[in-house]
Amino acid sequence: MTASTPNPTIGALADLDRVILGKPQAVRLALACLIARGHLLIEDVPGVGKTTLAHALAHVLGLAWQRVQFTSDLLPADIIGVSVFDASRGEFSFRKGPIFTQLLLADEVNRASPKTQSALLEAMEERQVSVDVTTYRLPDPFFVVATQNPFEQLGTFRLPESQLDRFLMRISLGYPDAQHERALLAEGDRRDLLPVMKPALSPEGVRDLQAAAQRVHVAPALLEYVQALVASTRQRTDVLLGLSPRAGQGLVRAARAWALLAGRDLVLPEDVQAVFGPVASHRLERTGGAGGADHAAFVSGILRGVPVPV
């Protein structure tokens, strides 16, 4: 069941678990999201370690990272960069913005104006930036880890469904349990650990992992299962809009990465089930605006309604 090559993700996961205490599932999902070449949306209240997770991901994966605090007066140029006139050479030159990095932490992404949001989300989709007539490719790998606070509504711009679709997964961390919270209280800021830790991976290593995830086998029976899951969301009366084919593709990609993290070279229905919630929940708008706490139960209800193939 284990892949023949030594699994470099085990070290990375162990390091991440050391920094983010008591959240192995969220940490695995975050890593799987990046390996599946997807962008990650972390939705949670402040202070549970969203930024720490992003920071730790960048460090452990050996990636260059930038952080942008989104505010309502943030302009697209503040992220992408700006053409400035170079008097000495008598021409415009492009000064790259913070987006030209391997991992961008977009903190409180819903605070920025829709214009700025869409500039970022466009870059996420295209993995390139066009300024004036020149197109600049973004580094490879390129990840966006965005955070938003779901409870603060004043002065925020909710991401529309089409923009949410750009994020492969949406996860939340939640409060730590008692034991881990005590450990946090005792040991202080976990980010202090980062400088002393050696990166478990490098950008090349991340690219290799992404390629390896592509090679994880997906059997026809499993595709049937994914299709049945996606189709079942379209037939529900409590869902305004079912999952799109793009969401189905994302589900397969995420399940591949999840299987790779588990050290398998084939995808199981369990892998699909593990990533289904984070991949699907932010893409399913429910009728009557229902959401929130019972969303997890709602998602598992969908899973329960579709038999796994035998």
């Binding site: 086998h217 059997a219 037939q235 009366t237 084939l266 229905p269 369990e270 796994v308």
Partner: protein, 651 residues
């Protein structure tokens, strides 16, 4: 459009289409109300209008509206019974349902109402022209049902139409079996009460100029299909109403005059034919010359051989008739008969009376007198015209001596009057003469414009003898239709319809209609039995029909279930799946059974936790299964290994 609007719109459109189908059954205001409600419903569904707010007042409004509608229908029809009133009620109730429908179930009810209205439309009009409309509506209704039944509005319209077309095609054999074999009740159990309709065709009153009004009507009165070759055209006198009472101006049918006619001798071979009568909303049936017997139940054959039905003919009606073109009656007319058939009320038409007396005095016998009068008609050079102008109170005098112009009704009236004035029994017969041969269908179309009037005169030794005074005034009338004689009398429509190639198309269409009428609409219990006879059953009966229908039904059910099974049924589990299912069944004895959504590894882990002793074996089976089912390839030995591992589990 709002995502969930499509099922509502589909149901509403089907309803609106059905309302249009019963356009002529329901009163116009019902149709207007229903279409208004449908438009409102669509506007609300697609979001142009706001839906009504819920509230207790709404219930009150609906109850009020319902009561108002029922009362309105009652006021309109004076009853809630019968096809028209029932249809009106159905249209209104469906419209009200649209106002309050919200859920999928409501849409289903609306379509149900629409299908009931379709049934009403079929009861009201079974013509071939309507068939495509009915089929389209059924198709649309089925597609709408498919759209409604599909959860989450996921079925595209095109796919729904395809699906319903396929379903209808599959249902077609069953419909054919029901049509051919389902035992039928004789008689029309659906013969519901109808509203009053406009009447057309001949009446039982003939004032001068009466039949001329029909000349411009191109509508068919009836169609005749002869057994064998048709008789010559000049003998095609279809008798209708016999007018035996004259007041000097108008000929009428007096119902009270009956007497025993002298015995009749039928000569020559009978002509057998089938008449398909268009609705005339009058009770008369038409037959050639002397009909042998009443052609169907509830049709009365009078002493003067007039056929009268119990009820007005308000649907297309067919009957088989047998007529003799030549008869003889050697007996004497009874005294009462002679009195009635020579009576003229009043002392009008003095010039005619004088003529009658002088001509009779010159003749040796009644037969000679009849011949002499005909000759007189010829000598007078009377003019045959559809527009003879008004006549005076002494209508016969006016025709014969003043205007010298007239139409068949004038001449028949004048001739019969001349006979009666000379004490020769005579009466006027109205009916149809000739007709148009449809070469495409091999039958005769008799139109309203073929209406004609002639006389019958009692001649001792011969009995009633047909004498057509028009034939001496305008001999061509016997050979040719009115339109050939007087093209200017044709209406614009008739002129177009009679142009060469259109008339050929019209003939084909008419014969298709006739086929539809004879073979489909009138396919009754007798036709069913003769169908069985054609299948080779010697003495068919109800039992044969019942058995035939049962066999057809079972065959159809078998065929449909096989077809559906092939397209719907899941594939049979293969060896890998069977092995895994066997393992899960076995393990269900030690722990709760595998849920449908439980993956193999999760299941193995659960069993392992419950029974640590089984853990290695279960995990081995699960991993083998997973590798075969979800891995890149599977080989026969590996499958065998899995099956063996599953068997070991049992041990």
């Amino acid at each position: 459009m709002i995502a969930a609007a499509r099922p509502h719109v589909a149901a509403t459109l089907v309803f609106a289409a059905s309302v249009l189908l019963v356009l002529f059954e329901a009163p116009l205001w019902c149709t207007a109300v229903a279409l208004g409600c449908a438009a409102w419903r669509i506007a609300v569904s697609v979001g142009w209008l706001n839906p009504p707010r819920a509230g207790s007042w709404r219930r009150l409004v609906f109850v009020t509206l319902t009561v108002a509608c029922v009362l309105a229908v009652l006021a309109n029809f004076r009853t809630l019974n019968g096809l028209s009133a029932g249809t009106a009620l159905l249209v209104l109730m469906g419209a009200l349902k649209l106002l309050e429908s919200r859920s999928r179930r409501d849409d289903g009810i609306v379509i149900g109402v629409a299908l009931f209205m379709l049934l009403a439309a079929v009861l009201g009009d079974q013509s071939l022209l309507r068939v495509p409309l009915y089929l389209l509506t059924v198709w649309g209704a089925c597609a709408a049902i498919a759209i409604i039944a599909h959860p989450g509005d996921a079925l595209p319209t095109r796919a729904a139409l395809r699906l319903s077309a396929r379903a209808l095609a599959m249902a077609a054999p069953l419909a054919a079996a029901c049509f051919l074999l389902f035992p039928r009740v004789s008689g029309q159990f659906w013969a519901l009460q109808r509203g009053q309709q406009a009447t057309t065709g001949l009446s039982d009153v003939m004032a001068p100029g009466a039949i001329g009004e029909l000349a411009s009507e191109y509508d068919p009165a009836f169609r005749v299909r002869f057994e064998g070759s048709p008789p010559p055209r000049e003998t095609l006198y279809f008798r209708g109403v016999v007018l035996n009472s004259f007041d000097g101006f108008t000929w009428r049918r007096a119902r009270s005059h009956t007497w025993n006619p002298p015995p009749l001798e039928m000569l020559g071979a009978p002509v057998r034919y089938r008449v398909t009568l268009e609705p005339s909303y009058r009770p008369w049936l038409f037959a050639l010359d002397t009909v042998a017997r009443s052609p169907r139940r509830n049709v009365f054959l009078a002493h003067d051989r007039q056929l009268t039905a119990m009820d007005d003919i308000d649907t297309v009606t067919s009957y088989d008739a047998e007529s003799y073109l030549r008869t003889r009656s050697t007996g004497k007319l009874s005294v009462a008969g002679h009195r009635y058939e020579t009576r003229i009320e009043g002392e009008g038409n003095p010039r005619t009376r004088a003529l009658a007396l002088s001509l009779r005095a010159q003749s040796g016998s009644d037969a000679e007198y009849a011949q002499r009068v005909l000759q007189w008609f010829q000598e007078q050079r009377l003019e045959y015209t559809l527009d003879p102008g008004p006549t005076s109170v002494d209508s016969v005098d006016s025709t014969l001596f003043d205007s010298k112009r007239g139409f068949c009704a004038h001449f028949a009236s004048a001739y019969a009057t001349l006979m009666r004035m000379a004490d020769v029994p005579a009466h006027v017969v109205t009916g149809y003469l000739g007709g148009e041969w449809n070469p495409a269908g091999g039958y005769l179309i008799v139109r309203q414009s073929d209406a004609h009037a002639w006389t019958e005169v009692w001649l001792d030794g011969h009995g009633w003898t047909r004498i057509d005074p028009t034939s001496v005034v305008e001999p061509e009338r016997l050979q040719r239709g009115l339109y050939d004689l007087m093209p200017q009398s044709m209406g614009a429509t008739a002129q177009v319809l009679r142009s060469a190639w259109i008339s050929r198309i019209a003939h084909v269409w008419d014969s298709a209609n006739q086929w539809w009428q004879e073979r489909v609409v009138e396919f009754n219990a007798r036709a069913q039995l003769s169908f069985l006879r054609n299948l080779g059953i010697d003495s068919p009966g109800w039992q044969h029909l019942g058995w035939g229908f049962a066999i057809a039904l079972l065959t159809w059910i078998g065929w449909v279930s096989l077809t559906l099974r092939r397209s719907v049924a899941r594939q049979r589990p293969d060896r890998i799946a069977r092995a895994w299912l066997a393992a899960t069944r076995k393990l269900a004895r030690v722990a709760p059974a595998r849920a449908a959504d439980e993956g193999p590894i999760a299941f193995a882990r659960r069993i392992g936790a419950a029974r640590p002793d089984l853990a290695p074996a279960v995990s081995d089976v699960a991993e083998r299964y997973v590798r075969l089912r979800f891995g890149p390839s599977s080989s026969a030995p590996e499958v065998l290994e899995l099956e063996r591992a599953v068997r070991r589990l049992a041990a």
